[in-house]
């Protein structure tokens, strides 16, 4: 059978730096093909070449076996190739419906068919079990909802080839399952799917075929059948990755952070919790359970009621600077909207939060550069060159830069919201080790994560939130998936 879409010997360079070296990939209809690799390996670039967003520097793209020159996404879409980007591709001021149909609006005569488009969008959202209103503006809906809108947008285009770049990075298990049902359905309809994820369990579950990229080259392309997660990981990283999570530790000194009766209107009700020195405290819950809002309130990024004390000193509400001075930092889950200045250099991004430390009257450019060198080394940030804009980094490397930026303030209490979103498995291991090291050094860490295994593997104690309230907590040996899920679903209502 002829592949629907294939690359043969494709290379791609940005300036003098070649990031893809001779890629060969064939997508067949009715087959799910997974593309995996470390951060910066070239997955997104490969996908962009396949869907007409980037031109290959050399090599050929074939549709149904015929070489084509894809010069624009529009042309690719014409040919039935649709891509969901790693970074959102939605216009913030437009509504969900408007985004879903952007560029190919339904019309009745010369005018838009509002009712028709709305109905269709609602149907898609229902199919995806997404609660966002078709009339809500993108700016007003949550990150996971946006991802679902992206998926709805792609589904609405009736693709022959669907390319998805880390669609599940911001989704929880439940939504991921919804997505997979849709993928199964498309597969049955004969759509070819190319898909990437750093969650290798998903790859196991979904893929018929796996291609592994390392540093822009293909190292493996094989049937998924019989391939274990460990084998995939080893192929990606080039080393063995047993012991993803460091051994469990026993945390708990004095209480360093104490939050009492925190209320964030519309999001959080009466949340109280304590954090001890040297502890790794997990926050679990379904998407929309208010974890982000609670922590933003604690960190002074949102107006709140209730009190937050750090080492006995009360922090003012709605101001972030005092929290930072007290040694508390928050790492945002939304790196694109709240985390990084995408059109600025790495240096400016890295030091923005901790700029005080680099300026004694004037900013010490040398110290900044040294800090950047250090960050690149510490966090293994893969960059083409030092002057690259933050927005041109691969998704995972952006996340690493964000982590480096946050840690630069030399905090005592670290709140990380989805810290490993979009990060490859090798680096994840490093980050887990890093968090452990911090705790061992006497720092306290709060980890919000929608990946249950991560929470379970990493944390000493886990607080579970449900609908804006703290539903309960589990600690030590009781930390297991069943207990957490029961709390998160509201099946068990014990007090914290």
């Amino acid at each position: 059978m002829k592949p629907v879409l294939s690359l043969s010997n494709v290379t791609r360079s940005f300036g003098p730096i070649e990031v893809l070296h001779g890629i060969d990939i064939q997508l067949h209809s009715g087959e799910v093909h997974a593309l995996i690799g470390e951060n910066g390996a070239g997955k997104s670039t490969t996908m962009k070449v396949m869907s007409g967003f980037l031109a290959p520097s050399s090599g050929t793209v074939c549709i149904d076996g015929d070489p084509v020159r894809l010069t624009s996404p529009a042309q690719a879409e014409e040919a039935g190739i649709v891509m969901i980007h790693q970074e959102f591709n939605l216009a913030a001021h437009l509504t969900v419906t408007e985004n879903v149909f952007l560029g190919r609006e339904m019309r009745r005569g010369p005018f838009l068919d509002h009712a028709g488009m709305r109905k269709y969008t609602q149907a898609l959202l229902t199919r995806l079990h997404c609660n966002a209103s078709p009339d809500a503006r993108i700016a007003d809906i949550s990150v996971p909802d946006r991802q679902m809108v992206e998926i709805a947008k792609a589904l609405s285009r009736h693709a022959r080839v669907l390319i998805m770049d880390e669609p599940t990075a911001v989704l929880t298990a439940r939504e991921t399952e919804v997505l997979f049902q849709q993928v199964d359905r498309l597969k049955a309809e004969g759509v070819a799917v190319l898909y990437t994820s750093h969650k290798l369990g998903e790859v196991r579950r979904l893929a018929d075929r796996v291609t592994v990229l390392r540093d822009g080259s293909m190292v493996l392309s094989d049937c998924a059948e019989g391939m274990t997660e460990d084998q995939m990981a080893t192929a990606m990283v080039g080393r063995d990755l047993s012991d993803l999570y460091p051994p469990k530790r026993k945390g708990g000194g004095d209480v360093v952070l104490s939050a009492r009766d925190i209320r964030v209107p519309r999001f959080v009700e009466d949340a109280s919790f304590d954090l001890r020195q040297g502890e790794i405290l997990g926050f679990a819950g379904l998407v929309g359970s208010g974890r982000t809002e609670l922590m933003e309130a604690v960190a002074g990024l949102r107006p709140r009621d209730g009190s937050v004390t750090v080492n006995g000193a009360t922090l003012p509400a709605d101001r972030m600077r005092p929290a930072i001075q007290a040694g508390l930092v928050y790492l945002t889950e939304d790196r694109k909207e709240s985390g990084l200045l995408l059109n600025k250099s790495l240096r400016e991004n890295l030091t923005l939060l901790a700029l005080e430390r680099f300026s004694h009257g004037l900013i010490d450019r040398k110290a900044e550069d040294a800090a950047l060198d250090q960050a690149i080394a510490d966090w293994d940030i893969r960059i083409p060159h030092r002057d690259v804009l933050a927005g041109n980094l691969s998704g995972g490397n952006q996340q690493k830069l964000l982590l480096a930026k946050t840690m630069l303030t030399q905090p005592r209490i670290v709140i990380v919201d989805e810290p490993t979103r979009g990060i490859d498995i090798g680096t994840k291991q490093q980050i887990y080790r890093f968090i452990h090291r911090l705790a061992d050094e006497g720092l306290s860490v709060i980890v919000i994560s929608s990946e249950l295994p991560e929470v379970i593997g990493l944390c000493d104690r886990v607080i579970v939130m449900q609908r804006g309230r703290i539903a309960g907590q589990v600690a030590g040996a009781d930390v297991n998936e069943r207990a957490i899920v029961r709390l998160a679903m509201g099946l068990e209502g014990e007090a914290a």
Binding site: A74, N89, H93, G468
Partner: protein, 332 residues
């Protein structure tokens, strides 16, 4: 429960205020007008205000599209003067050949539309092809048109032949069922604009481009063409406005259309369109135009303040109108 159901209420309320804000400001102005002068509500006064707001209004409708798509046009005022100048020169030149009649006027109107279209196209080309900031392009063309009209009028005033003026006059002063032409044209342009903005692809694409150009491009929107079209449309509407303007004064000079660009942009923004693009509202613009028109009218209705301070009152009202729209001063 509460926590789940509530989330969207607050933004709703704000959106509502945002929506009715300009209308509220307009209402307040109307009340002030009524309180200050008995003749304010008279038919002739209201028609006067509407008719002369029509020029800025027609242009502001076009400006709404340009701004929604993330652009800006500072040249509309001088472009109007230039178009008026060209029209007058052509009509005067044709007079000996074609005789004094409707024919000349029709040719003049056509020339006006074409000139406006070209003016818009030049702005559009410079912005989309040469990729220069719209601010600079249109600041440049603003100076160029203003100079050209001064030069064409030899520093003075270009006047339409007096007899021709007589033939042309009804286009401004004439009425249909008691409603004068500029009002009718303004209403038509506004309605067409509102429909285009909300119910056509073009309007949707303007908002998309203004909101996020890259997203629009990725969604197969032809960004260049749409952006170009907004400038061409605006140029065309400048032509339409000028067609109504020439019969009003029968002349064009270096002072024609002075500061129209600021008024048009102010009307657009008072109406709730965002200066950075991404969201536009034609009916809001119409309300904005009416607010600006009424301020001037009301200041003429009374002697409360020294005429020197008219500008100050105007400034204060413009700011207040927008404050009202934002739903008052809120902390954070």
């Amino acid at each position: 429960m509460t926590a789940t159901a509530e989330p969207r209420q607050a933004p709703r309320r704000r959106i509502n205020l945002h929506a009715i804000g300009p209308l509220a400001a307009l209402g307040v102005l109307l009340l002030i007008g009524i309180a200050l002068n008995d003749n304010f509500l008279s038919y002739s006064n209201l028609t006067n205000v509407l008719a002369r707001s029509a020029f800025i209004g027609i242009i502001a409708v076009g400006m709404t599209f340009v701004i929604t798509a993330g652009g800006l046009d500072l040249s509309v005022g001088s472009m109007a003067a230039f178009v008026a100048g060209v029209m007058i020169m052509v009509m005067n030149a044709l007079l000996p050949m074609m005789g004094q009649g409707v024919g000349v006027i029709l040719v003049g109107i056509l020339i006006g539309l074409v000139t406006g279209l070209f003016g818009g196209a030049i702005n559009g080309l410079l912005v989309t092809r040469a990729r220069i900031e719209a601010f600079i392009v249109t600041l440049g063309t603003m100076g160029i048109y203003r100079s050209l009209i001064t030069w064409m009028a030899d520093g003075g005033t270009l006047s339409l032949n007096y007899e021709l003026s007589g033939v042309y006059r009804p286009v401004y002063y004439g009425t249909v069922l008691g409603v004068s032409w500029p009002i009718i044209v303004f209403a038509l342009v506004a309605i067409a604009g509102e429909i285009t903005m909300r119910h056509t692809r073009f309007g949707r694409h303007c908002a998309a481009i203004g909101s996020n150009e890259q997203v629009a491009r990725y969604s197969a929107v032809n960004v260049m063409r749409v952006r170009m079209a907004t400038y061409v449309l605006l140029g065309l509407l400048v032509g339409v406005a000028t067609i109504m303007y020439v019969p009003r004064l029968g002349s064009a000079s270096a002072a024609t259309g002075l500061l129209w660009e600021l008024e048009a942009i102010a009307a657009v923004i008072i109406g709730g369109t965002m200066l950075k693009g991404g969201f536009g509202r034609v009916w809001g613009t119409v309300v904005g135009v009416l607010i600006l028109g009424l301020i001037g009218n009301i200041l003429n209705l009374t002697d409360l303040v020294s005429p020197y301070l008219n500008g100050a009152i105007q400034g204060i009202i413009i700011i207040l109108a927008v404050v009202l729209q934002r739903g008052g001063i809120r902390s954070n």
